[in-house]
Structure formats: C-alpha cells, structure tokens
C-alpha cells in the first residue's frame, strides 16, 4: 500500500467512524423525543405509557366539554366510538375546536387515566380530519361521516 493510499484509507475510516457516531447520536435524540400516537381504545387497553409524553386523538364527544367557572381549566372526552378518553387542559382552545370535531392532544397520561394535555391541536379546515384520528376511527370500524349522521 502506498503512503498516499494509506492516508486516504485513514481519512475514509475516520469519516466512517464519524458518520456512525453522528448517526448514533441522531438516533438517540430521535428516540427520546418522539411522541407515539394512541387511539382511545389503545389507551383503554393499557397500551399507552403513564407519565410519558404521548399523542392521542379522536372525535370530541358531544356534550362533554366542561369549562371551569373562574379559570381557563377545561375538560372534555375524545372517542373512537369503542372507548373514550378524558382530557384535562388549562388554557385557550384552538379556533376550530368544537364538539364532534377530530382533534389531536399532546400530553401525559396521569395515574387516574386522565390525559393532562399540554397542547390541543385542531387544524384550520372544517373538513379536516387528523389522519391519525381518521385511521383510529377506521380501525374501530367507524368513519367520521357515521358520526355526523348520528348527530
């Protein structure tokens, strides 16, 4: 092996090692910062971890939204028509949050089974259905259209 080739091999090996380290770090950062999505049925079945940040979603059940009289605390339930999940939130709900609307919430599941939400997401389109919610509903054998009919 000529010296030039040996040097090139050294550089190449260093690059491979660096790339591996970088990929490892990226993977680690990714692993500790991703939020898995759970449907209300999955939460009811105990599949969702308690105390870790997760995403959950479904349709906001009609008549379930309850506002506290003198603070911004609010509770509501989301459903995929198989199971319901109670959500507690403190703050201002998005413009398009409505009963009978698909929403996604980000938060931690408390020991009592209530999801303490940090964020409530309802997208800016009245026909919009978060894909996770649509899939969760489909998995439960329902479609949002069914829900509209029963309203």
């Amino acid at each position: 092996m000529t010296p030039a080739r040996r040097r090139r091999l050294g550089v190449l090996l260093a690059l491979v090692v660096l790339a591996a380290v970088a990929a490892g770090l990226l993977g680690y950062a990714l692993r500790s910062n991703i939020n898995l999505f759970f449907s209300p049925s999955q939460v009811a079945a105990g599949e969702a971890p308690v105390g870790r940040q997760i995403r959950a979603g479904g349709m906001v059940e009609t008549g379930s939204v309850a506002r506290d009289a003198d603070s911004l605390a609010v509770t509501f339930t989301v459903t995929d028509f198989q199971a319901s999940l109670e959500v507690a939130y403190q703050g201002i709900l998005p413009d398009l949050f409505r009963e009978g609307q698909g929403v996604v919430v980000v938060g931690r599941l408390a020991d009592d089974g209530v999801l303490q939400a940090d964020q409530v997401l309802a997208k800016h389109d009245e026909n919009y259905m978060p894909p996770e919610v649509a899939d969760a509903l489909a998995a439960a054998g329902k479609s949002p259209a069914d829900y509209r009919r029963t309203e």
Partner: protein, 660 residues
C-alpha cells in the same frame, strides 16, 4: 365576447408552453452534444416563448378569479363573490393547482432571465443550461396539465357561488409569502442547471462559478425572505404568537435554505481557489433536490398542515417520480463525470479554505438532522411501524449546539486568509473580539433583566462574537487606507454582502435568544372592567362589541394599555367568523416595536360576558425577521460586485480585496 373563453385561452397557452419547454429541453441539448449552432440557438427563443405563454395562462386564471367565473372548478373552490378584489387576485396561488402554475411561471421566468441577462455565456453552455431548465419545466408543466389543471370547468352545473378562500390565507403576509418562497425554491434550478451543464461539458473553471454565483445568491435571498415571511405570518395569523414550530412544512423550506447556504460558501471556494469543484456540483444538485422534496412533501398530501391541499395520490406519485428522475439522473451523471471536473488544491488545516470546509460540513449535518426528523415519521408510517411525531425538543437539542459551533467558526472565517493562516496571527487579531464578546455576553442578562441566565448569555455570546470579529476585520481592512472614505470605497460589494449577511445571522440569533427566554405569556379570563398586568403593562378590557366585515362578522374587544399609571394606547383584537366556510379566525392586535411586541389575541367566549384572552409580551421578536432581511440584503448586495458584470473579462483573475 372573448370573455367566456378566457379559461380556454389559458389552457391552450399552457399546452403551448409545454410544447416550447419540450423543444427547449430537447433541441439545444442535442445541439450542444453534436455541436450544431443552429440547434443550440433554439434555447433562448424557446425560453422566452415559454415564459410568455405561461404569463398568458397565469393572467387568464387571474382574470377568471376577478370575473368570478365559478364555472372554473379551481375558482369555485377558492373564491367567493364577496371576497375583496385583491384577495381574488391573490387567491390564484391560494391552493394547489394555481400555486403549481405559479411555480411553472417562475421557473420559466428564471429561464427567461438567464436567457436575457447572461447573453455573453458561451453558446454551448447557454444551450445546456437552458436545456436542463427546459427539462425541469417540461416535467412540471406535464404535472400541471395531467394532474392539477387549474382550468378544469364545472359544466354544465355551474355553482352560483364560490366556496371562498381559506380565511387563514386572506392576509397580506400570504400575498407575498408563497411567491417569495417559490422564487427561492425555483431559483435554485438555475444553479442546478449550471451544475448539470458543467458535468455535461466536463469542465468547471472560475468563469463558470462567476456565472453561477449571482443566480445562487439571488435565489437564496428570495428563499430567506420567503421563510421569514412565513414565520412572520404564522406569528400574527395563527393567534398564539409562535414563530417557528418545526412543522414539517417549515422544515421543507429550511432544508434547501441550509443546503443553499452551504452552496454559497462552497461556490466561493471554487471561484477563489479552484477547489471543492465536485463538492460544489453535488451541493447544487442536493439543494435543488431538496427544493423538489419540499414541493413533494407539501403538495403530495403526505403531510398534514395548512399547506397540504392535495389529497390526490396520483399527484404525490407524479412528483415522487419527477423527484426520482431528477435526483437519480443528476447523481448518475455526477458519478460518471465528477472525476473529470475535480482538481486537487492543497491548503493548510488553518485557512479560510479549511474553515469554509468546516462550515459546509456543519451545514450539511444540520440539513441531515432536519431531514431525518422530518422524514422519520413518514418512513415509519409508510412501513406500518406506528404513528409518531418528532417534536421540537429533538430539533432544538441538535440544532442549537450545531448553530453554536457554526457561529464559532463563522467568527474565524472572514478574518482567516486563503491557503494558510498562522494560528498566532489569527489569535492576535481576534483575541480582543473573543474577550469582548465573553464579557459583554456575561453582563448583558444582568443589565437587561437583573438576573443571570446562561441561555441568554450563550446566545448573545455567539451574536457578539460574530459582530465583533466582523468589526475587527473591517477595522483591519481600513487601517492602511489613506482616508476612511478611500478605504471604504476600496471594499467590494461582495465584501459588504458578506458583512451584512453575517450581521443578519447575529441579529436573528439575538432575536431568537431573547424572545425564547424573556417571553411573557398570560392566558386570562377577562370581563369588561377587568385589568391584568403583564411585564409592566396594564391591560384593561374597556368594552366588547361586534363588527361586520366584507365577508365575515367579528367580536371585537377594546383594551386600554397603560404603563406606570399613564395611558398609552388601545388595542382591538377580533374573533372573526368567515361566513362562506363558517370558519372562526383570530385576528391578533399587535403593538410592534424594535425592542418588544405586545400581542393580544381573543381566545374563546366563556359566557357571562367573559372572554379568554391571550396576552403576550415578546421582547426583540422583530429582530428575527430583521436579521433575515439583512441576510437577504447581503445576498443581493454581493451580486452587485463588479466582477459579475464584466462578462468575458471576468475570465481574468480578480485581485481586489473581496470577501468572496
């Protein structure tokens, strides 16, 4: 009497534009390969013709909007007779079909500009550059005509009224945000075409870089402005005062920006030192590929956001195929031809070359980081491994340290010399700047806020390090001049462009740091007569009322804001209900300022005459966008450099003091 046929005129013009794009792609490239001047000469007229016909198509669509022609499906879905005329005109790019037409128009516009402004380009290079742009244009025009035709009619059942433009998009920010962003995305097609042309010719010289650099700068400046406008729009239009969400769509625009920034710097090395040639070409390919990837992500419906209009899977597949062909073709060509253009140039480990290499590596790592975080959920979903989302903590955890590292080297770069820089001299010139930055950054949070804050100090340290080292460099450059004026005149616009661009980043970093750490947000329940204090300002709700706009009704709150017992001004936030779509929207009341913004948004009606209000104090938030504006100005200013205007003379080596 021609009026009813306007959409058909537009449709026909679109087809003609496609034909011209196909000729522009085929004939000049074949001509350049077989050295036939006549065939090569097809490139310019076809580029001009394609642009002219796209202009006709675009004008036809705009006319259909202005005339409320709801027989055109796209108009019926995105406009309403109640809509003010200026939103009718801009609704043209308010949804998928029209924005793709705008995309094609701009691509043809850039091609036309190359044909018109780079007239002294050697004939073969011109033929190849325009040929490649014609190829890209043909792909996108086919996409528009086959999958997203904006001129499709709803006949014979013409709706009497349109569905209205999404209220979120009825805003001045949205009038200019997409065109700017697209100008940036599409603008990178020019340097891409130059890169492919260089590979086809098997030759890259200083003249080539001088042709390609201004186009890259301008596209990059447009993209910078586009991203900043998007952030500004989200800040005041979405009603909760965030300015960057690491939303996949934002990431899609950040990716080509990061790669493009690396490209700008790599081009500098290629021009000045003749090295990094194949790397530059590769970056040009990557930058444009990332622009295309952004288009795919936003347009295919795989992402869900305000921007995701299309749910038609054929569109996603079409763009994915276009993306695959472009990237695959370009990379294959690169693999076959790159060894021909590369050239070994040596440089020391401490030199401007090496520092720019580090800059490039860091920017590419940042690009990969963002790319991974954006694509990871999509890949998992496609493989059926579960639905995840990658949150801001991931991006912040990786992006902040990488930016810090980047800034560290950015301070050294402009001061260092090409080829070799003795460490001792570098230290001698920059020790003062480093010391000054450390001391000022450590003290600033104490002075500003009374308490030390490591995050703020770190951010300010980076910004001050950038600014002070730039200032030191300027002082050193002026030291030997006869007079200050003479010294200033001797510095080239490219140097000032660099100064301004780097200063812009420092300003943005200050904005990000201060607003992230000292932002005060209070969500409160308020009835008429209630008062609340936020960051020294007292907000008193004076009254609640109603108002009717052209296409909406609104609840309006009136708040008196005072400070130190002294009444200052009133704010009028609104909660609007857009009638056509029955869609509620928050209209924020802002009191902007260079040092702080006051931000009041109406949340929800809580009943009993009380409203939930979101009141925020956002210090230095304007600096975010001010910095972006400075960066863009720097990019444009660098283009004014004389060496880009000299045409053939530019082949001669330029020995002036330039920043490059």
């Amino acid at each position: 009497m021609l009026l009813p046929f306007i959409p058909e005129v537009g449709h026909f013009a679109l087809i003609l534009a496609l034909m011209m794009a196909l000729i522009q792609a085929g004939v000049p490239l074949a001509g350049a390969a077989t050295r036939r001047p006549l065939w090569m000469a097809y490139a310019r007229p076809m580029a001009l013709g394609q642009f002219a016909f796209l202009l006709v198509a675009f004008a036809s669509l705009m006319a259909s909007f202005l005339l409320d022609d709801f027989s055109v499906a796209y108009v019926a879905n995105n406009a309403n007779s109640q809509l003010p005329w200026y939103y009718k005109a801009t609704a043209v790019w308010g949804s998928h079909e029209g924005s793709m037409l705008l995309w094609c128009l701009m691509l043809a516009g850039w091609g036309c500009a190359v044909a018109g402004l780079s007239r002294r380009l050697p004939a073969a290079l011109m033929a190849r550059v325009l040929g490649v742009m014609g190829l890209v244009g043909s792909g996108f025009l086919l996409f528009v005509l086959l999958t997203s035709n904006p001129f499709t009619r709803l006949l014979p059942n013409v709706p009497g009224e349109g569905a209205d433009l999404n209220p979120l998009l009825q805003d001045v920010g949205l009038i200019i945000h997409p065109p700017m962003l697209y100008m940036g995305y599409v603008g990178f097609s020019v340097v891409f075409a130059f890169a492919i042309a260089a590979l086809l010719e098997g030759r890259i010289d200083a003249a080539w870089t001088r042709w390609a650099r201004p186009w890259t700068n301008v596209a990059w400046a447009f993209l910078t402005v586009g991203i900043a406008l998007g952030s500004w729009w989200a800040y005041y239009e979405l009603g909760w005062g965030g300015w960057w969400f690491w939303d996949p769509v934002e990431n899609a625009s950040l990716l080509p920006w990061l790669a493009g920034t690396a490209l700008l710097h790599s081009l500098a090395v290629t021009e000045k030192r003749g090295s990094f040639k194949s790397w530059t070409v590769l970056l040009a390919i990557f930058t444009f590929s990332l622009s295309l990837l952004g288009t795919f992500l936003v347009r295919s419906g795989v992402l869900t956001s305000v921007h995701a209009f299309a749910n038609d899977p054929t569109r996603g597949a079409f763009i994915l195929i276009l993306l695959g062909l472009t990237v695959g073709g370009a990379l294959t060509l690169f693999a076959l031809r790159a060894p021909r253009v590369s050239q070994a140039v040596t440089f020391g480990w401490l030199s401007r070359d090496a520092l720019l290499l580090v800059n490039n590596i860091l920017l590419v790592v940042m690009t990969v980081t963002v790319l991974l975080g954006t694509l990871y959920p999509l890949i998992l979903d496609a493989l059926g491994l579960g639905k995840v989302s990658v949150g801001p903590p991931y991006f912040n955890a990786l992006f902040v340290p990488l930016t810090a590292l980047l800034c560290l080297f950015m301070g050294l770069g402009p001061v260092a010399r090409w080829k070799r820089m003795p460490a001792r001299e570098l230290w001698r010139r920059l020790a003062g700047a480093a010391l000054g930055a450390v001391v000022l950054a450590a003290l600033a949070p104490l002075v500003y806020h009374g308490r030390w804050n490591p995050g703020v100090s770190l951010g300010l340290l980076l910004a001050l390090w950038l600014v002070l080292s730039l200032a030191r460099d300027l002082v050193d450059k002026l030291r030997h001049a006869r007079s200050l004026g003479a010294g200033l005149r001797r510095l080239a616009p490219a140097y000032w462009g660099m100064q301004l661009g780097h200063l812009g980043l420092a300003v943005t970093i200050v904005g990000v740091t201060v607003v992230s750490n000292y932002n005060v947000e209070r969500n409160v329940r308020m009835a008429v007569g209630d008062r609340v204090e936020v960051a020294g300002y007292t907000f008193a709700l004076r009254s609640l009322g109603k108002r009717r706009g052209p296409n909406y009704v609104a609840d309006v709150a009136t708040l008196d804001v005072s400070r130190d017992g002294e009444s200052r001004f009133t704010l009028h936030p609104e909660k609007r209900l857009y009638l056509a779509r029955r869609m509620p929207m928050t209209d924020v009341a802002l009191r902007p300022g260079l040092l702080r913004d006051l931000y009041v948004a109406m949340g929800e009606d809580l009943g009993d005459g009380a409203w939930a209000l979101r009141i925020q104090y956002k210090p230095f938030v304007r600096w975010l966008w001010l910095g972006a504006a400075l960066m863009a100005a720097g990019g444009v200013l660098a283009v004014a450099d004389r060496r880009y205007r000299r045409g053939r003379e530019a082949l001669r080596r330029n020995d002036e003091v330039t920043a490059s």
